[in-house]
Symmetry: C2
Subunit: 389 residues, 2 copies
DNA sequence: CAACTTTTTTTCGGGCGCCAAAAAAAATAG
DNA sequence: CTATTTTTTTTGGCGCCCGAAAAAAAGTTG
């Protein structure tokens, strides 16, 4: 990228850009590129001299924890992922005693296999399914663990010099959408992910919103029908109990809605199988999807009434069958909410992509890294050592 | 207030405070006070020289529109309300054709009666019951009007040189709470006002949240029971249809829940009368309040699941009977939401005070005024005229 | 009452971030 | 080779803020 374009992008004057980039060059955060840019024919003037982020300046790691599996990825300072792997563990044995060691070992092996200096890893972003407490750095409850209150940030922080951050996985999808298309995904929007459970991410007034305790946006456990269907969380009538994989199976088999979610035979392919059956015309599945669509419509209506987002994004494996839910969802939305409150809404259906969470984690880690580096840069220039008061 | 305290409050150095206050003294925004502060005995050192905001520097007006009534108040630059009046109009005749003139005339008369130069009024803050569109400056729908889409900001803006802002009335309560006790009411909290309808204000991450279209926080019309009780908005099962005055009357009289809300004989004293009957032991009223408490509990539970506020404030005339609703509300909350999501919650019950809205409007107007004055001050110092590009 | 202490306020010089204008650099066009 | 175009750098300056020192205005002490 040329300095003149940086100026346009940041709204700073060329003079300022020169000052800032020359500092960054000195510190090795960016490098000049010798290779000439392909210039348009008939282009006159001094050629642009391109700058690039020096990938080797630092590394960040993303860690995604799902049931039985830890997905690891390492990105350089340019955001390029150059190493990744999946590690398997037994979720039924993972609790606050055993999992921290499992996790730190997995990350340590991963760093060694990547062949980078452990000190070069400055940020580790962790996302987990379930309810997380960002402030405490613990996973309060998750299907990925047998126990509760699993510490994640603490153990990693001790084992590595990096800063560690724990996030809700749907929040990371929200972040990834924002970075992938800032034009479209800015301001105030909500992401609803229908998958193993039902998660939500909120982007409000141009910022990711995480709530007071960092456990925000658990729309899956917002009540849909008082005293309704049994949910995995032990309560009755949660939205999730009408939308998640186990809920769809239960409705397909016309089982009573007090049937224990844990007894339903869900697999990683449940949504895909149900979708195929629906396409084949299976009336039971289609009926279940209609019920799910209705529940989703009520959930969206309540969200609109409380938050008034300009856009709601639907994603997750469970949204594959959206065509079978769409009509019921819109009907429910119209039944549930006065027109004034829904006239400005846009609904996006984004095909599910596992990579979203990883990209969100890395985007967030990079931003945090940038913030610390700005401060570090200031110290260097001022001549203040980091040990000074 | 002494300069040294300003420094402590703003985290600026004494040197900076002197620089800024001397500019403000020059512009007449603040004045020095000659009268000595009562000093503590044994106090040594140079006595503080107190500064005060010069109230005469500017004026702001707050306008609250409710059914049949417009409440006007004028405050000076120090935030002191020195003139107020109520003006009555006929809500059944007020529509987009007639109301703008009614409003501008009322404000014009009010300014004349206050005896201030109309040019000295720099901000007008308007709050209305119902659904408002802050961006357009129109009241989309309100019980205070016969018609829909009533323009408010446009007509006032044309009639006066002031900046005009339209807000949701519950948002102004939220703002007022924040200013009255910033320690307690900061970060992320929600205000639910049960009154003629059910309104909500959200304060998220230290900012008042107004949603994408400025119509946020209409929790009253968030669905409680799909296909449930008839609401004023024309839909069924809204939270309001279980909590508002007409809903309580309907439940007290054991009328079918499809009974038209408009047919219920509500008055300004309905809540007070119901509360008295409950205290006298009227089983029908107590039963209705239990139902309302349950509905409120579900509403609070859904809000917690979506937003995760650290605190929820309950207020409004309808909350007078809270003691009769409390038990049912907590039971509903426990039934509706998994414990992890409600363990960090505090519920405040704040006795209703009509003055909240006025204070919120004035606080908001003052802040806006401060922002414009900072820019104006900069212009003065720089010597740039406001006509310069 | 002069010298010292305490507390608040002001002055002075300087750093940082940003900018406009001018200058320099590096290319093309004729 | 000169003019033109475009990008980058240099220069000087402004605004905001700060730390240190000085000044101001009181009380305390012998």
């Amino acid at each position: 990228m040329a300095r003149i374009d940086l100026g346009r992008a940041t709204q700073l004057s060329p003079a300022t850009i020169t000052a800032i980039t020359s500092d960054m060059l000195e510190e090795g955060l960016i490098v000049g590129i010798d290779a000439d840019e392909p210039r348009a024919p008939l282009a006159r003037g001094r050629p642009r001299s391109l700058l690039a982020i020096d990938g080797s300046a630092a590394n960040v790691i993303s860690v995604r924890i799902s049931v039985n599996r830890i997905d690891l990825a390492m990105a350089d300072f340019a955001g390029q992922i150059f190493h990744s792997r999946k590690v398997y563990y037994d979720a039924t044995l993972a609790d606050r005693g055993t999992f921290p060691a499992t996790l730190t070992d997995a990350v340590r092996d991963f760093v060694a296999a990547a062949g980078v200096d452990p000190e070069s890893v400055l940020e580790i972003g962790v996302a987990s399914q379930g309810i997380v407490d960002t402030n405490k750095g613990e996973v309060v409850w998750s299907p990925a663990f047998a126990g509760r209150d699993i510490p994640v940030v603490g153990p990693l922080q001790e084992a590595f010099s990096a800063r560690v951050t724990l996030s809700n996985d749907t929040n990371m999808i929200t972040e990834a959408l924002h970075w992938s298309d800032p034009e479209r995904y800015s301001g105030t929007f909500a992401v609803i992910m229908v998958d193993y459970g039902v998660g939500m991410g909120l982007f409000l007034d141009d910022h990711l919103f995480v709530g007071a305790s960092g456990a925000a946006a658990e729309i899956g456990h917002a009540n849909h029908i008082p005293g309704g269907a049994r949910c995995r969380c032990g309560r009755s009538g949660c939205l999730e109990a009408y939308l998640a994989d186990y809920a769809l199976l239960r409705m397909t088999q016309a089982l009573p809605d007090v049937t224990d979610p844990a007894s339903m035979p869900v697999t990683a392919n449940t949504f895909e199988e149900l979708h195929e059956r629906a396409e084949a015309g299976d009336a039971q599945v289609i009926g279940a999807l209609l019920q799910a669509g209705t529940a989703l419509g009520y959930g969206v209506a309540r969200l609109l009434a409380v938050i008034d987002p300009a856009r709601i994004v639907l994603t997750g494996a469970g949204i594959r069958a959206y065509p079978f839910m769409e009509q019921a969802m819109h009907t429910a939305l119209e039944d549930a909410l006065v027109e004034d409150l829904r006239r400005s809404l846009t609904i996006d259906v984004v095909p599910w992509n596992e990579d979203f969470i990883r990209r969100g984690l890395i985007a967030q880690a990079m931003r945090r890294l940038d913030e610390t580096l700005v401060i570090a840069t200031r110290r260097v220039r001022t001549g203040r050592s980091s040990l000074a008061p």
